[in-house]
């Protein structure tokens, strides 16, 4: 046996062991969140470290309580509204903006391209106080639509940057052909650019979805009325009010996690592209 074989052998076994430990560490919080949400408080108190609870004893009472007694049906619909409107607007505006930056000639073009990326480095904690002051003064702060505007401003720079890079890689000849055949600019975008950029548009959409759905700071600072709470804001509210009922908080956490997780599993490829292309802040 030479050193190569010994080292490779040890590394292979070591790698398997570390891999399993790593996976447990990465996924355990989610496993525990789900399991705990389906146990009764008495069961948790009696035996907190029961890693494999009895399937027959699982109950969904905490989900019922969270959804219908703590207003989560409303929070879910608020989150869906805020997120979907943000996604739709972000995709449309980024599409138009990226097209202008890559295909049209205008004066501020170079300055614009460079500025886009610099802007998304500005952290929310620096923006939140002045925006709080501004919107409070205007009497607009406690509003889901204001939240949508803030999320748009947070996501547009990265969305535009991603689409701009993608448009640079598309052949322009097709669009020229369209223009000479009498298509308007909007026609060219609708008939040629959009069909060709569906993968990039999907990346932008799911990236924006993730940011808007998961956002906590602005929702926490801006929203006062429970009827307007997004899910993240609602979970924090619940955790503050039902101090000891951990299973309720876990059920609420599962509810806020599931949509983004399902989307991620279905569209992983696109999200990873979005995460790396924009080096997303977070």
């Amino acid at each position: 046996m030479n050193r190569e074989r010994i080292e490779t052998g040890i590394l292979r076994i070591g790698r398997m062991v570390v891999l399993v430990l790593f996976l447990v560490w990465v996924l355990f919080p989610f496993y525990w969140m789900i399991i705990s949400s389906m146990r009764s408080l008495e069961d948790i108190m009696a035996n907190p470290s029961n890693l494999l609870p009895d399937i027959r004893q699982l109950d969904f009472h905490s989900y019922y309580a969270v959804l219908f007694e703590h207003g989560f049906v409303q929070y879910i619909s608020n989150s869906i509204y805020v997120t979907l409107v943000t996604v739709i607007l972000s995709v449309i505006l980024a599409l138009l903006g990226a097209y202008a930056v890559t295909r049209l000639r205008f004066r501020a073009k170079r300055w614009m391209s460079a500025g886009i990326l610099g802007i998304y480095m500005f952290p929310p904690i620096v923006l939140v106080i002045p925006l709080y002051v501004l919107f409070s003064r205007m009497g607009l702060r406690d509003s889901m639509n204001i939240l949508i505007l803030v999320y748009l401003a947070q996501t547009l720079p990265v969305s535009l940057y991603m689409l701009r890079n993608y448009f640079h890689s598309l052949p322009v000849e097709l669009e020229y052909a369209g223009l000479t055949d009498g298509c308007s600019r909007i026609g060219v975008i609708w008939r040629i650019v959009i069909p060709l950029s569906l993968p990039a548009l999907t990346s932008v959409a799911i990236y924006t979805f993730m940011i808007a759905w998961n956002e906590f700071l602005f929702a926490f600072m801006f929203l006062d009325t429970p009827e307007k709470f997004t899910l993240s804001r609602g979970v924090v509210q619940l955790a503050g009010s039902v101090h000891l009922s951990k299973q309720l908080v876990m059920a609420a956490s599962v509810i806020v996690t599931i949509p983004i997780l399902v989307l991620f599993i279905l569209l992983e490829r696109y999200l990873v592209k979005g995460l790396t292309a924009g080096a997303v802040k977070g």
Binding site: E4, L27, V101, L104, R105, S253, V256, V272
Partner: protein
């Protein structure tokens, strides 16, 4: 620019006008909600203004002073808080990159189930922050947390450890007692768990771009796997690792959500971003709050400048 030769707008003019329409909404939204707040924050940081003055007439008066910065710097817990911020930022960044590197090395190479593994590893990063923090708070809870119960049952610990609520944790090392900043270490560890996928994705992409030939050549020359990693892989990762460090450093420095949700800044975890919140909503002092935010912003700007200068020198980007 081209001079106008005919009465009808030239092609250049029409293109410029169309561009203005297409980019206008984005420029307005971003200017109003990102650029303007930063500028206005500077203004607020130079004014004596309380939360109650929000609706008062003095909000736009030009009565500037450095009192807020004086208050922020001479506050009894400014320097401890700065120290905590540095420890949290350095620790969080380095740990997330170390875990990311480990994960990338584990997944690198050809084997079945690789794609699934990659997907699973990214989950901590895409999950909502509220869910992630509440799950960990529950796991590490001193009364009901599974980890403390497990430790007690196995006899590893004699009493529950309040991971997120105890500032100092004494341990015996070689007969001397040292105190570990327990809550701070716990939030740093959380950062490592939450943000390693970010480093993981970049490092994995870079690893896959390293040509196999150089490894084969090295193997022929008698270099073992460990030597190959140290002398061939690591140097190849130098750029991506330093870029990641800079990005993570800047973002962890400004991070608010995680610590706020885990400890509310208690038990020795009060970083500067928490002070921004505390000044505004604990002491109702918007001026001091803006001053701390401004300090954070200057540090961020400084680091970004270093980064761009360094990028120009290296002439090699993270995307390569």
């Amino acid at each position: 620019m081209l001079s106008r030769t005919t009465q009808t707008p030239s092609l250049t003019d029409r293109e410029a006008r169309l561009a203005a329409w297409m980019l206008g909404p984005t420029v307005i939204v971003v200017s109003a909600l990102v650029i303007f707040p930063v500028v206005w924050n500077l203004f607020l940081s130079l004014k004596t203004i309380a939360l109650a003055d929000l609706r008062g007439p003095g909000l736009f008066d030009f009565d500037l002073t450095l009192d807020n910065f004086r208050k922020a710097f001479f506050d009894y817990d400014f320097w401890p808080s700065l120290l905590t911020t540095i420890a949290y930022t350095l620790g969080g960044s380095l740990l997330s990159i170390a875990f990311g590197l480990t994960a990338a090395l584990l997944v690198h190479g050809e084997f079945r189930g690789r794609g699934v593994l990659r997907g699973l590893f990214v989950i901590p990063y895409v999950a909502p922050i509220v869910a992630a923090t509440f799950a960990w708070s529950f796991i590490l809870d001193p009364q009901l947390g599974v980890l403390n119960w497990f430790g007690l049952k196995q006899g590893i610990i004699s009493q529950p450890i309040p991971f997120f609520s105890q500032k100092w944790f004494p341990i015996q090392v070689l007969g001397t007692q040292i105190r570990l900043p327990l809550a701070l270490l716990s939030v740093i560890f959380f950062e490592g768990w939450r943000y390693f996928p970010f480093a993981f994705l970049f490092i994995l992409a870079r690893l896959q771009a390293i040509p196999d030939e150089i490894y084969q050549a090295a193997a022929v020359d008698g270099a073992g796997p460990i030597q190959r990693f140290l002398h061939m892989t690591l140097p190849q990762l130098k750029t991506v690792l330093s870029t990641l460090f800079l990005f993570r450093f800047v973002w962890t420095l400004n991070k608010f959500d995680d610590i706020f949700l885990l400890t509310r800044g208690q038990a020795g975890t009060k970083v500067l971003s928490i002070k921004v919140y505390d000044y505004a909503f604990g002491e109702f002092d918007l001026g001091a709050s803006s001053a701390v935010a401004m300090i954070l912003f200057f540090v961020l700007a400084l680091f970004l400048m270093i980064y761009f200068l360094w990028m120009v020198q290296e002439d090699e980007s993270i995307y390569q």
